[in-house]
Symmetry: C2
Subunit: 175 residues, 2 copies
DNA sequence: GTCAAGTATCTCAACGTTGAGAGATTCTGA
DNA sequence: TCAGAATCTCTCAACGTTGAGATACTTGAC
């Protein structure tokens, strides 16, 4: 009869934690350090795994992020630059840069904001709309593939834990 | 009698997922997309939370990462550049850059590798050793503080899920 | 021994982000 | 109504990473 292993398989962070325990046995909170380290490494691996999919369509992750944010807001696929930067968690300089590149590619256009002349509206062009709707399908397929090593139950448990973490950090909306 | 809420509190990713469901009801794997999004946002928030601690000591995260890697290997606190870049998950150019900066600050030194003249050994100086041992204490305290909104049980469950994910991605050692 | 293949590090240009600051516009309260 | 505070976007220099290529050295097969 198959038995669940008593001992979980170790990952790279277990190695790191063991090294710290040996070198600094007085150091507390190693569990916190390990958890943060796991989030960081998982993010790193996920990003590396996504990059080739976007590259297939001539996009960087940062560019896809903008297009996807506009797409999922629904028609008329418009958002201010400020809305985009808060959603993407980057600074204003980064958004200006991303919009410049996407505008040059003809995937978005900047239109005046009616009612606030400080602001602009960023709008998906037809080309941008078509592209992002294609890319997002390949993208989610790829994400699902990267997570396929976990059971549905494991994924759900992980998801719940991460949601609680985000809520506890105050990350409850996009603005 | 206090009751656990039936409904989990929502985070920013719940908002994103709801937008996609509305705009693209045909899109599958939204659970995978949400999980990846949560890892990304959690990482982003953690990084932002760590930055000020390192800044207090005149360090960037990337620099601390190198010093900490050397420190936790134990005496004589040496590693090759290749070992460092694999541990840090960055490219060779990035490591050269980090080592240049740390060398300029007097926190590490490059010494010839005995037995392989292609390689170098990167060694913590006394100044580097003292600094990293101080900073790491403030750093883990800070990490623990950022995670304090979760119960011990929640943190353990999250940690287990992330370890399984990393193992499933093949991230079982440092190089 | 010799040569091809592999490995270790560094170089360098392209790229993207940060963060401070400027300019323009809108909001707020007296 | 008006001045000061706040907000929105853009500019720009500093910084860090990537990724391809160069250089030097080592290894393995013959």
């Amino acid at each position: 009869m198959p038995q669940k292993p008593q001992q979980e398989a170790g990952d790279a962070v277990d190695v790191v934690a063991a090294q710290w325990r040996r070198e600094r046995p007085d150091l507390g909170h190693l569990d916190a350090m390990a958890l943060v380290g796991r989030i960081s490494r998982a993010n790193n691996l996920m990003q590396k795994g996504m990059k080739p999919v976007f590259a297939q369509y001539g996009l960087e992750f940062a560019e896809f992020d903008v297009l996807a944010t506009l797409c999922r807001t629904g028609a008329p696929y418009e958002l201010t630059a400020g809305g985009l930067l808060r959603s993407a968690m980057v600074t204003s300089g980064a958004i200006t840069n991303r919009l410049d590149r996407l505008e040059k590619k003809g995937l978005i256009e900047r239109v005046p904001h009616p009612g606030d002349r400080r602001a602009i509206k960023v709008r998906l062009t037809t080309e941008g709309y078509d592209l992002v709707n294609t890319v997002v399908e390949a993208h989610v397929e790829n994400e699902a593939r990267m997570l396929a090593g976990l059971t549905k139950t494991e994924r759900a448990a992980l998801d719940t834990g991460l949601r609680r973490l985000l809520v506890s950090l105050g990350d409850t909306d996009l603005g």
